[in-house]
Each structure stands twice: as structure tokens, then as C-alpha cells.
Amino acid sequence: MADDLHLRGMPPTDGPRQDAPGARQGIRIRLEVAFADFRLDVDLDLPGRGVTALFGHSGSGKTTLLRCVAGLEPAARGVLTVNGECWQDSARGLFVPPHRRQLGYVFQEASLFPHLSVRRNLEFGLRRIPAAARKVSLAQATALLGIDHLLERMPDRLSGGERQRVGMARALLTSPRILLMDEPLAALDARRKQEILPYLERLHDELDIPVLYVSHAAEEVVRLADHVVMLGEGRVMAAGELRATMARLDLPTAFTEDAGVVVEGRVAEHDDHYHLTRLDFPGGAVWVSRQVAELGRMLRFRVHARDVSLADHQVEGTSIVNLLPVVIDEIVGADTAAHVLVKMDAGGTPLVARITRRSSEQLVLRPGRRMWAQIKSVALLG
């Protein structure tokens, strides 16, 4: 199945290229829209593939931004280009209406049409695109999302998680050039979330189109996203590659409370005696509890800043398993006056530690100094 499902937003980059200016991979969003009590003003260049999380608290404008990309906010002004295709350029009076934009949209509540069966819901978009443009078949979409057995049901006979999976399949069946997802897990309880997350990861692995994923849940973002845009009060606070952005220290307190980094490690060794698994990453390795994963597989894990401490020599006689040599990059204030955040480089992988200001001064921490990071625990994602 992995090889069958292939959505291509653009011809391969080594193929013939359009000469028109702006005909390039990537998503260019330069939009502003003002409401009575809220204003969104963003200027973003996002990668043309992979999952980009739009991350922020409620009211930060992330859903509004997604709606602007879909063309559902006609009051928005500016420029929007998706992988070479211009959907909006207000200066030229160009506004492509939503139904002419090749996008898939997954709403927070699945929003299935209640008067149509699951099959007819799925076919709604499929039948409205030309046969030649169909890159995903009904069978592929239903297999990918595990909904084959639900086709003849009416939406009111589905669980919340099933509805959301039907909503995702319905969006995919329009063979979109970009997939927009508005907190697809927010309306679900913890168990349903766990039910959906594997499907989302599959989408991530098998789709060749960019995905914009709105979420206020850090755990979802670090598990699914490659890139992240942090939004606050209608503005972009930070944007970039996931690991680098999560390790940035210059973000407002709201984000540093939960500071930490995301690392992707390769399963390198299983130790069956102690029930441990070694994950290698650029610049080091960590031991985690035994994972059921074949050697060579990539696993993501999160290292919370509060779980990292620092020592000026390689400590002997400690219960902490994971010790890494690091170089201090930067020290900034944290969410409380008693703490600082220390950003370090572990041979190419960024790490962040949250320690007391007193410890920082006693250890005479400064940029460029070599130290040992002790990692108390890591959280495996997925």
C-alpha cells in the first residue's frame, strides 16, 4: 500500500520547471485579515512537503490562518502560493474560490454530511474531480484509514474516531496538492486520540504533499510535525524546522514553560539482559527502556529541559545512564526568576537544560564551555 498511494503536488524538481516567477516548491503565505476583535498578520515561507504544525494557544489565529489558506476567509488580503500555484494575490485582484483550490480540509469536528452514507460522503469529493486527476482510489483511502467496514453506515452510527477517519479519507480522495488539518484530534478523548494517531503517522509517511496541521497540543506537534510555526495573537513568533525551533530559547514564556527538544534516533542495539535499547543520533546516543522496534528504525523522542542537568566533569557513581558531552551555546532567562535555560550542542544535536540560576553561576557556565549533560529521562513519541 505504501507504494501505491502517491500524491504528487508538483512534478519532480529535476523535471521540467515552469519559468513563471514564483513557480517553485514551497508555500508562500503573506496574508492579513482583521476582524472586530482580532487581527491576523503573517508572512511565512513554508516547505513544499512534510508536515508543518501551526502551533499556538486558542485565540492565536492558527485556525484563521488555515481558513485563509483554504479561501474560507474572503476578507483576507495578501499573497498565497502553494507549490507554484497562485491562489490569491490581492494586488492583482486574484482570489481563487475555495472549490477551485486543490486542497483537502479536515475540520475539527469531522463534519460529515448527515444525509449521506459513509460511501457517499467519500464519493462526494471524488466525483467532483476529473477522472484523470484521481490519484487515490476509494479502496486505497479506506484501507489507509481502516474504514472499509463502515462504508454503508450513516454518519450518526459512527464513533467520534471513526468519523474523523472518514473525514480524512474524504479529504484525501480529492487528490489534493495540500492537506489542511484543523485540530483533527481536539474533539476526541484520550483513547480515541491514540486510535487516530497511528493513522496520522501513516499519512505523514505515505503522502507526498505538504500538510498544514493546526494544534495546541505540544505532544501531537512533536510526534507528527517536521516543521513548526508558533503563533501568538495573530502573529508568527517563530517558524522553522521542528527540532531547531523547539530548542530556541528566545520565545515567550508561554512556550518555554514546556521547553525541550525533539530528537530523532536510530535503533542501534537492543540489550536483552537489562531490557534497554540504544538510540543513536548525530553527536551521541541514549539508552531507553527496551523498544519493540527493528534495528535501523527511526524513533522520535523528546528531552524536556527540566530532565537535563549539567556537570563540569564526567560524573562517576550516578544512577543516570545517559551522559553526553556538550558545548554550551547560550543561556537565557526561563519562565521563573529562579531558573535559566541553557542551550547546548551535543555534537550536532541541540539540547536544552532548565537549571537554577544559582547552579549556573556556581558552575560558571558561559557560551563555548564544554560540559557533561545528564539526561534523567526521555519521552518516546509514538
Binding site: 474560507l72 474560490p97 472549490h99 475540520f107 448527515p114 462526494f124 467532483r128 454518519p155 468519523r163
Partner: protein, 228 residues
């Protein structure tokens, strides 16, 4: 066994024909008005809504009086229809249809308007992201979701037209086979002290109205379309 004369049967037939034709026209005219009222942000929304609702509060004789003037030889509508070669509408079946449509308009527009509002914007946004253009969304999403509103509107529009009297009397008169509907026929029988004949028609109307309302209130319907 029937105690209805052929003239009375003719009145019944004319009434049903008038109600059917009027209801079809009401749905065709009322649906776009209801859609516009449900979707617009125009400042004219309140004005249009009030005009549509006027027949709810005006005495039918007032509506009939102004229709008579407008459609008469000196009225703007009358001059238009004469110029078009249609002739004058008062005291004709076509005139009754025009009067009925105006008289019953709020009974059709309001249920449909409420049904469209209950659907909200979301299903239409979903349809747009699934490549459905505005007309496509209207016919394949909005109309099916508003179905309960249309059923109510059809029943109310039909029944209200069957029950009209004042407007008919003002603009239709009492011409057998052309404008004499059941309500007018009952009035004639009572005037002539033909109570038995009046009973047959009046009793029939009572039974009909009860059955219509029973169908309306007995039906368990949802008022619109929350999405699944």
C-alpha cells in the same frame, strides 16, 4: 350519497387546483428569498423580512384591496399585463394565484429560512473544500439538509391557501368554475340559508385542516442539519 352539488364539487376542485399551483409557485419564489435572508449581511435584510411577513398581520381585505388597485386597469400591474396582452388579472384564476402567493408567502419563506439558518455555514464550507461550487452545494447539500423545512413549508403553504377567503373575495369575486373556491361557496350557502350544503363543505374543511395539522405536528422532524 354525496350531498354536494356539481357546483360545490367544482368549487372543491378549483380550490385544490389553486392551492397546488400556488404552492408550487410559492416554493419557487420563496426558496431564493429564504436563502437570501439566511445568508445575506445586507442592510435590506430587515426590510425584506418585514415585507414578507406583512401578510401575517394585515387583514386579508387590505391585501386584497391593494392588489385589486394594482392589478386593475389603472394600476401599474394592470397596465403591464394589458401591455403584455395578458389582460387584466382581477376576477380571473391567474389573479387568484397572484393573490394567494402573496398571502401565503410568509408561511413558506419562514420555515425554509429557519431550516437554512439551522444548517449554518459549515456544511457549505465542507462542500466547497470538496470542490462543489455554489450551485452544486445549494442543490446537493443545502436543499437535502433543509428538507424538514420544505415539508413544513409545503404543508403550511397549501393549507393556508385552501383556507383563504378575504383576498379571494376582494380580487376574485364569486364566478362559478373560475374564482369560486370552497370558502366563498360556504359563504354563499349560508347567505342563502342552505345550512345542510354549508355543513358538507365546512365539515370537509374542518376535517382537512385537522388532518393537515396532525400530519405537521405528529411528524417527528428535525429542524435542520447539524453535521455528523
Amino acid at each position: 350519497m354525496s350531498s354536494l352539488s356539481s357546483a360545490d364539487w367544482s368549487a372543491v376542485w378549483l380550490t385544490l387546483k389553486l392551492a397546488t399551483v400556488s404552492t408550487v409557485i410559492l416554493l419557487l419564489v420563496g426558496t431564493p428569498i429564504a436563502w437570501w435572508l439566511a445568508r445575506t449581511r445586507s442592510k435590506w435584510k430587515g426590510v425584506v423580512g418585514a415585507v414578507v411577513a406583512l401578510p401575517l398581520v394585515l387583514p386579508p381585505t387590505v391585501i386584497g384591496f391593494y392588489l385589486l388597485l394594482a392589478m386593475g386597469p389603472n394600476g401599474p400591474v394592470g397596465q403591464l399585463t394589458e401591455a403584455l396582452g395578458i389582460g387584466l388579472l382581477p376576477f380571473s384564476f391567474a389573479g387568484l394565484v397572484v393573490g394567494s402567493v402573496i398571502y401565503s408567502l410568509p408561511f413558506v419563506v419562514q420555515p425554509v429560512h429557519n431550516a437554512f439558518e439551522a444548517i449554518g455555514r459549515r456544511p457549505l464550507e465542507v462542500a466547497a473544500t470538496l470542490r462543489a461550487g455554489p450551485w452544486d452545494s445549494f442543490f446537493n447539500v443545502a436543499l437535502p439538509l433543509a428538507r424538514p423545512g420544505f415539508v413544513t413549508a409545503t404543508i403550511l403553504g397549501f393549507a393556508h391557501t385552501v383556507g383563504e377567503f378575504g383576498v379571494v373575495l376582494m380580487i376574485g369575486g364569486n364566478i362559478p368554475d373560475k374564482t369560486r373556491v370552497v370558502s366563498v361557496a360556504i359563504y354563499d350557502h349560508v347567505e342563502a340559508l342552505e345550512y345542510a350544503e354549508a355543513h358538507w363543505l365546512a365539515g370537509g374543511m374542518l376535517a382537512f385542516s385537522f388532518l393537515v395539522l396532525l400530519a405537521l405536528y405528529g411528524r417527528r422532524y428535525r429542524t435542520g442539519g447539524g453535521l455528523g
